[in-house]
């Protein structure tokens, strides 16, 4: 390297500083975009968490302290609880309860909840957000004392084991998402059990068998277009076909399995599941096709060169090698199906279920439907219930995604090149 460049190597002006400055600006722009995504996610999470926890003021019809002379209810023996119940609850209710099951034979926890439901009758008088509860506690204390002198202030986690384990009812303090969780599981089960085999089969046809002719190109184009159809349209389709046209089938009447008085009602788990199946079918077909495309053609060639049929090649080599990716696609589809609300509203999700769904012919509700209904109620406590249900839904999705990752790792560990 001498100071003066060799004249035959002249003719370049590298302007490195300028290029570096430009690179720096782009780098900053990329970082800003990524940060914005993180910030909006954080805002979302915070706003949900803000509603899911916080102080509540509870008022009782009968003050629990008066009831027990200051002792904690939970400390009483079964006998004392029973006495309390018999002394305080209206005789008509007692007779009705006795008819359901003898009161004397009921356990401690059950007696406690009966006392709560029949005598104490707690109600939410006011509910506060987490931010208020953390940073403005003094104001809450003063305000609640002034407004509800007979109220009890306590910190409440709206998301709780009893929230997850309780069926839907009308009281914000004791309602839960179990009904919606069961409904979600059942509809998703129907949807995936239908869409996964159908979608994989269709993808195998298109990738492994179909020739490049107008018919198959038409099928392919339709599938791409179907993937982009708004979900409400699938809801209309589901309503017309599964709910109305196939009502005897989707209500279970043809099998003699319809819920009593529901023979003409096709608004069941089955109809909802099939509607969701239609919705995710194109997604599964396309993702499976991508998975099959990723398998090197040499794998197929080496199988066929041994005298294998196409089916043996697909079944023994191509599908196992692509299983990880197929599963990933299936879980993406499932995540989409779990969150769908609009088509299920159209198909006729129940606004209020008094019984948990027990099978595919039951009326249904799902988590997103439940969230939607709670958010549309005017009373503020339902907003907190909705937040807890949202966390439940997100948790469910996370669990499913974790399953997908495990499934993919397993498939990879088998030595498959996918």
């Amino acid at each position: 390297m001498s100071g003066r460049p060799d004249p035959s190597r002249a003719g370049f002006d590298d302007r490195l500083d300028e290029r570096k400055a430009k690179a720096g600006r782009w780098k900053a722009a990329f970082l800003a975009a990524a940060s914005l995504a993180v910030v909006s996610l954080a805002v979302l999470v915070l706003s949900i968490v803000d509603d899911a926890f916080g102080y509540v003021v509870i008022r009782y019809a009968v003050n629990p302290a008066e009831l027990t002379d200051g002792r904690e209810l939970a400390e009483l023996t079964d006998g004392e609880l029973l006495e309390l119940l018999q002394a305080q609850a209206p005789a008509r209710r007692l007779r009705a309860l006795e008819r359901e099951a003898p009161l004397a034979g009921r356990g401690h926890d059950e007696l406690l909840s009966l006392i709560e439901a029949e005598i104490l009758k707690p109600e939410i008088a006011a509910a506060y957000s987490l931010a208020e509860s953390l940073f403005d506690k003094r104001r809450i204390v003063e305000e609640s004392k002034a407004e509800f002198p007979d109220g009890y202030l306590s910190f409440r986690s709206w998301l709780s084991p009893s929230f997850l384990g309780s069926s839907l009812n009308a009281k914000p303090l004791s309602t839960g998402v179990l009904t919606a969780i069961k409904g979600t599981f059942l509809t998703i089960l129907v949807a995936m059990a239908t869409a996964l085999p159908l979608g994989v089969a269709a993808a195998v046809w298109l990738e492994e068998y179909a020739r490049d002719n107008w018919l198959n190109r038409l099928i392919q184009a339709s599938i791409y277009n179907l993937a982009g159809v708004p979900s409400i349209v699938y809801g209309m389709l589901g309503l017309a076909v599964f709910v109305r046209l196939l009502a005897p089938l989707s209500s279970g009447a043809v099998f003699g399995l319809a819920a009593e008085g529901m023979e003409a009602n096709g608004r069941t788990v089955l109809a909802a599941g099939l509607t969701l199946a239609l919705l995710v079918l194109p997604v599964i077909v396309i993702s499976t096709q991508e998975a099959l495309k990723a398998i090197p053609s040499t794998l197929r060639a080496s199988s066929l060169a041994l005298g294998a049929t196409r089916w043996q090649t697909v079944w023994h080599h191509v599908l196992p090698a692509s299983a990880g990716r197929v599963m990933t696609g299936a879980v993406l589809a499932l995540s989409r199906a779990i969150g769908e609300t609009a088509p299920l509203v159209v198909v006729g999700a129940s606004t209020f279920l008094t019984q948990d769904p027990t099978g595919i012919f039951s009326p249904f509700t799902t988590l997103p439907i439940q969230i939607y209904q709670w958010t549309s109620r005017p009373q503020p406590e339902f907003r907190h219930l909705a937040a807890a249900a949202i966390i439940t839904l997100l948790g469910l999705m996370l669990i499913l995604n974790a399953f997908a990752i495990v499934a993919r790792q397993k498939a990879r560990a088998k030595g498959n090149p996918s």
Binding site: A301, S302, S303, L306, Q312, H316, H317, P320, G415, P417
Partner: protein
């Protein structure tokens, strides 16, 4: 004995009674394992193999040489109908195997490939265990004998047994490239085929692995007929009994390997083997 029969009879065993005579004539009278007649292969409008007439002698190694793109692989694939996997490829003409055209209607390509096996340029074992790689083809073709024995014999024939006998349950992907290629040979010979087609089987391998496979070919030809495509003339000279030289889709000349290298009849052959092009 025909390829259209329902039963996949090995061509060299006795055929059904009524056909015994015909079989005897066609297997014993014809010294050719494969006979291509006026074979033309096109990719769309592109004529890749033109009017190929080639006879491959039984239990010999035939090398196909020629510059890159001259149609060697295309012709080779046409010998067991693997060309059908390529969209847009068309073949016409005949390829006779035991006197029967493998392209005649009613012949199932799966049965053709079961008797005429193939080893590819890049080692491509299945993502399964070593054992399963060898056993799978035999199993789907209805092998009824002792599978362990078949796997061992096939691996021995491919000079791989000693290296993998303790790793039969391991993934084939854990083997070296050269071992993988010999595993692919074992996988093919496990079907006890008649012909093995090899498309540049050593071009992705190191010299030591290449040498192992080359010496293996001399063993294999006692049981199988081998057609090997190579762009390496030294390799053709070392391993083959006969050599076919192709250029731009034409078969220029075919003959005894020594003869072809020492006294080429065609000027183009001479130019090629003396390194003037290709």
């Amino acid at each position: 004995m025909t390829l259209t029969e329902r039963r996949p009879l090995p061509p060299d065993t006795a055929a059904a009674p009524g056909q015994a005579e015909e079989t005897a004539t066609d297997t014993q009278a014809s010294p050719w394992a494969i006979e291509a007649q006026k074979l033309n292969i096109q990719y769309g409008d592109f004529h890749a193999v033109k009017n190929l007439d080639l006879r491959v002698p039984r239990n010999r190694v035939m090398a196909m040489i020629g510059p890159s793109g001259c149609g060697k692989s295309t012709a080779l694939r046409a010998f067991n109908r693997m060309n059908e996997l390529i969209p847009g490829a068309r073949a016409d003409g005949k390829v006779l195997f035991h006197g029967q055209d493998i392209y005649s209607p009613g012949v199932d390509p799966a049965r053709v490939r079961r008797w005429i096996g193939m080893v590819f340029q890049k080692p491509n074992p299945f993502p399964k265990s070593v054992y399963e790689n060898v056993a799978w083809g035999a199993r789907i073709n209805g092998y009824k004998g002792d599978m362990d024995e078949l796997v061992e014999n096939s691996l021995r024939q491919s000079a791989l047994w000693d290296e993998v006998k303790d790793k039969l349950k391991d993934s084939a992907y854990a083997l070296s490239g050269g071992q993988q290629q010999r595993l692919c040979i074992a996988r093919a010979v496990a079907l006890k085929p008649e012909v093995l087609l090899m498309d540049e089987p050593t071009s992705a391998l190191d010299p030591v692995s290449t040498a192992k496979i080359e010496s293996l070919l001399a063993e294999l030809k006692t049981r199988y007929t081998i057609v090997i495509v190579t762009h390496n003339m030294q390799q053709a000279g070392r391993v083959s009994d006969r050599t076919a030289f192709m250029l731009l889709g034409d078969l220029v000349e075919e003959g005894d390997t020594r003869e072809l290298f020492l006294n080429p009849r065609d000027e183009r052959t001479e130019n090629y083997i003396s390194g003037r092009f290709g």
